[in-house]
C-alpha cells in the first residue's frame, strides 16, 4: 500500500524535473536566438521571466532583464525557488526521502545529476553561454525518465511520476504559448513584424521545430504554431497530448474506466481534454487565445490541488 507521502514525493520529483528541463530549454534556445538576431536583447529576455511567473522576485534583484541576469536568475539563484539548480535540488531531496521506494538506479541517477549540476560554475556558464549547462539538464531529465521507465515497476507510483510530469508540461506549454503570442503578435514592442527566428525559437524550446516543418510545409505562421503546441494529439509536448497522458495516469491510479471519473481531479482533466480535442484553433482565436490559455493554466492548478486533496493530504483528525 503506497504511503501518501511517497506518492506526493513521486509526483513532485517529476514536476521539478520537468520544470528544470523546460526552463533549461527556453533558456538555451533563447540564448542562441539572441546571438543570431539584431533586435535589442531586452525584447527577448524579459518574456522568459514572465513565462516562469517570477517577475516580482526578479526585479527585486535586478534592474533589467539582461542575458547574464536572466541566466543567473533562472539557472542558478538559490533564492529563486524555480531556478534550475533549485528544481534539481528539490527533486533530489524528494528522491532522498523515498530512496527506499524508488529503484537504486533512479536514485543514483538523480543524485549524480545533482552533483553534476552543483559542479557547474555560474560565472563560467554565463561567460561561455548556457548551452553546456542546459544540455546537461535536458539530457539529465531524459535519462531520469528513461531509467525510471526501465527500472521502476509500472504501478501506481510510476503513474504518479507520469502524472506530475504531464501536468507540469501542460501548464508550462500553455504559459509559453500565452506569453510569446502576447509579445510577438498582440503587443510587439518593436513596430516591425516579428521575424521567423522568434517563432522558430518558440518551436525549438518545446522540441517542435522539425515537427512543424514536416506537418505544415509553410512559413511559420503564429496560428499554426499555436495549433501545434496546443492541439496536436501526437506531439509529446503539446497541451492536449500532456493532458491526455495525465488523464490516463489518473485513471490508472483510481482504476476508472473510460467515459467516467472517480474524483474531481479526473473530472477537470477529462473536461479539459475534451475541450482540447474538439476545439478548432480558429474557434479558440475567436474567443480569445489569452483567455483560453489563462483558463487552461487555472484548470491545471485546480487539478494539482485536487490530486493532492484526493491522495496526499489527511485532515488533522484523520
Amino acid at each position: 500500500m503506497m504511503l501518501s507521502r511517497i506518492a506526493d514525493s513521486l509526483f513532485w520529483i517529476a514536476r521539478y524535473m520537468e520544470r528544470a528541463e523546460d526552463t533549461a530549454r527556453i533558456l538555451d534556445v533563447n540564448y542562441h536566438m539572441v546571438l543570431e538576431s539584431y533586435q535589442s536583447y531586452r525584447l527577448r529576455w524579459h518574456p522568459l521571466i514572465i513565462i516562469t511567473g517570477e517577475q516580482e522576485l526578479f526585479f527585486q534583484h535586478y534592474q533589467e532583464a539582461t542575458a547574464p541576469a536572466v541566466i543567473e536568475f533562472l539557472g542558478f539563484r538559490p533564492d529563486n525557488p524555480d531556478s534550475i539548480v533549485q528544481c534539481v535540488s528539490k527533486a533530489r531531496e524528494n528522491a532522498r526521502t523515498i530512496r527506499d521506494r524508488i529503484s537504486r538506479e533512479m536514485w543514483e541517477d538523480i543524485n549524480g545529476l545533482y552533483h553534476q549540476v552543483l559542479a557547474f560554475r555560474m560565472d563560467d556558464e554565463i561567460a561561455a553561454g548556457p548551452h553546456r549547462f542546459c544540455n546537461a539538464i535536458k539530457f539529465g531529465c531524459h535519462r531520469f525518465h528513461g531509467v525510471s521507465d526501465a527500472t521502476l515497476p509500472h504501478d501506481e507510483g510510476w503513474q504518479f511520476l507520469q502524472a506530475g510530469r504531464s501536468l507540469e508540461r501542460a501548464e508550462m506549454t500553455a504559459r509559453i504559448v500565452d506569453v510569446e503570442y502576447h509579445n510577438l503578435v498582440e503587443h510587439p514592442e518593436s513596430p516591425a513584424p516579428p521575424d521567423n527566428h522568434q517563432w522558430m525559437a518558440v518551436l525549438k524550446s518545446v522540441a517542435a521545430y522539425e515537427v512543424y516543418r514536416r506537418q505544415y510545409h509553410t512559413q511559420i505562421e503564429p496560428e499554426k504554431v499555436a495549433e501545434l503546441l496546443m492541439l496536436s494529439p501526437h506531439h509529446p509536448r503539446s497541451i492536449r497530448f500532456s493532458v491526455a497522458a495525465l488523464q490516463s495516469s489518473l485513471r490508472a491510479i483510481s482504476g476508472t474506466g473510460a467515459h467516467a471519473y472517480a474524483n474531481e481531479g479526473e473530472r477537470l482533466t477529462g473536461k479539459l481534454h475534451d475541450s482540447l480535442t474538439y476545439s478548432r484553433i480558429s474557434e479558440i482565436f475567436e474567443r480569445g487565445l489569452h483567455a483560453y490559455l489563462t483558463d487552461v493554466q487555472k484548470t491545471c492548478r485546480a487539478i494539482g490541488g485536487q490530486i493532492a486533496h484526493t491522495y496526499f493530504y489527511y485532515s488533522a483528525a484523520a
Binding site: N111, H115, A318
Partner: protein, 499 residues
Amino acid sequence: MGILEIVSPTQAPHVKNLFGHYDTGGFYDEMFSSPGVPRPHFRHIYQTLSTMRPEVFEERRHLADLSFLLQGITFTVYSDGRGTERLFPFDLVPRILPRHEWDHIERGLTQRVLALNLFLQDIYGPQRILKDRKIPRPLVLSCRHFRREMIGIQPPRGIYTHISGIDLVRDSKTGEFYVLEDNLRTPSGVSYVLENRLVMTRTFPRAFELDQVLPISHYPAELCQILRSLSPHGGSDPVIVVLTPGIYNSAYFEHSFLAQQMGVELVEGRDLVVDCDVVYMKTIRGLTRVDVIYRRIDDEFLDSLAFRSDSLLGVPGLISAYRAGNVALANAVGNGVADDKAIYAFVPEFIRYYLGEEPVLRNVETYLCSRPDHLEYVLAHLEELVVKAVGESGGYGMLIGPSADGAQIDAFRRHLREDPRNYIAQPVIPLSRCASYDPASGEMAGRHIDLRPYCLFDGEKVIIVPGGLTRVALKPGSLVVNSSQGGGSKDTWVLRGDA
C-alpha cells in the same frame, strides 16, 4: 608475454612501497606481529597491498569514494551553516579477525546480550536484582533513560534488546578485547558494515577469492524475521515499518537502506496516526494498520503525549497503543537504563547474577563518580583518565585527560563536583592499531581502531553477523573513532579459519 610478467613494474626497486615507512609504534598492531612481519590472517592482503603501486591504490580509493558519493552514503554537517554533505571516510585496508578470536568475541557478546535483556525484564518487572542488593537502587532509578512508565509492561516475547551494538576495544598492553560500552537504544552503523563490504568486493575482488571471508549480507533478513515474530496478532503478513526522524537525521541513509533491504515501508511520524490505541499509516487508499515498528527515534521523542510534548518527530498516542499491546516496538522503550555508562560497571555482575557464568569479555576498569572514594581518586588523577557523561553517546560530553588542556580539566573538575552521578572515569586504553591509508603521506600508517558488532536477539538466541563495524581514528595519534569527531570505518573480515 610470460617473460614480461616476471619483471612486473610493481616490484621495480625504485617504486615506492605503501608500507615503506610503516611503524607499529609500540602498540598492538592488528596486521603485524612484529615490524615487517604480517600476522598469518593478514598475509594475503599484506601481499596484495605491499606489491601494489601507490597510484593504483589511490585510483581504487578514488573509485570507492565515488561509489559512496553517488549512492548518497553521506552524512550532513550542520556546523558550517550550509548543511554540507560529507562522506563517512572509508579506509580500504580491511580489519581481519581470525576465527578463534571471533568465536571468543561471539561467546562473550551472546552472554552479555542475554544478561542485559534479563536485567531489563527484571528492572521493569519484579526488580529482584535491587532486592538482592547486587546494584544500588538509587543508581538505577536515577538513570536519565530509566522509564518509570514502562514498569509492568511486558514487551512482545519478553524482548527488549532486539538490536544492540556493543563496542569492543583491544588493549595494546594485553592484546585482549574489552567491552567499552553497550548501545541498546538505537545503535546505528550496520548499513556501513554492509555497504563497506559491497564496495570492498568491487574494489579488491581477488582478495575475497584468496581469503575465506564469512558472509554478512543476511543481516537484513535476520532482522526482518525478528520483527515479523513480534506481530501482536500473529497474522501471516504483518505490516512492518521503519520509523525515521527524517531526512535531516545523520543516520537517515541507514534507515532507508534497512527499509529497502527488508522490503518494508520507511515512515516518518507524520505518516502515522493513532486511533483508539491502534496505529495506522496514511496511504493513498486510506488508513492501513501497522503491527510492528522498528523505530529509530529516541524514547523521549517517540510520543509527545507520553514524553517530550515539544516533539514533532514521533506519533502522539503511540505509547498508549504499545501499552495496549496493539503494536510492537523494537527496540523496547526504556532500554537506556541498561546502557547508562554507570550501570555498565555492573554488567559483569549481571552475567554472574542472571546466568551464573563468568564474563567471557571483560569490562574496562571504571570509576563511578557517584561513589565518594572513586570521585576523590578521579579528581586527583584527571590528567590520566577518560571522563564520560553517563547518558551521552557519539563521543560527546567526554574528557580525555592526557590530551586535554588546563581549562578543559578545570571545567570537568567543576562538572564532577556539581553532578558526580552524571560521570564515570576510565583509564586511557591504548587501543590497538591497524594499518590504514594516510592520504597526506600517500602511505600506510598505524591508526587506532575499535569494533562494534551488531547483535540481534530473537527471544531465544543471539544472532551476530560475523565482524561488525570497525571504526578508525584517522587523525594521527587520535583515540576518538566517532564519525562526528573525524573517524572513519573499515570493512571487517572474519575468516572461516585462522589464516
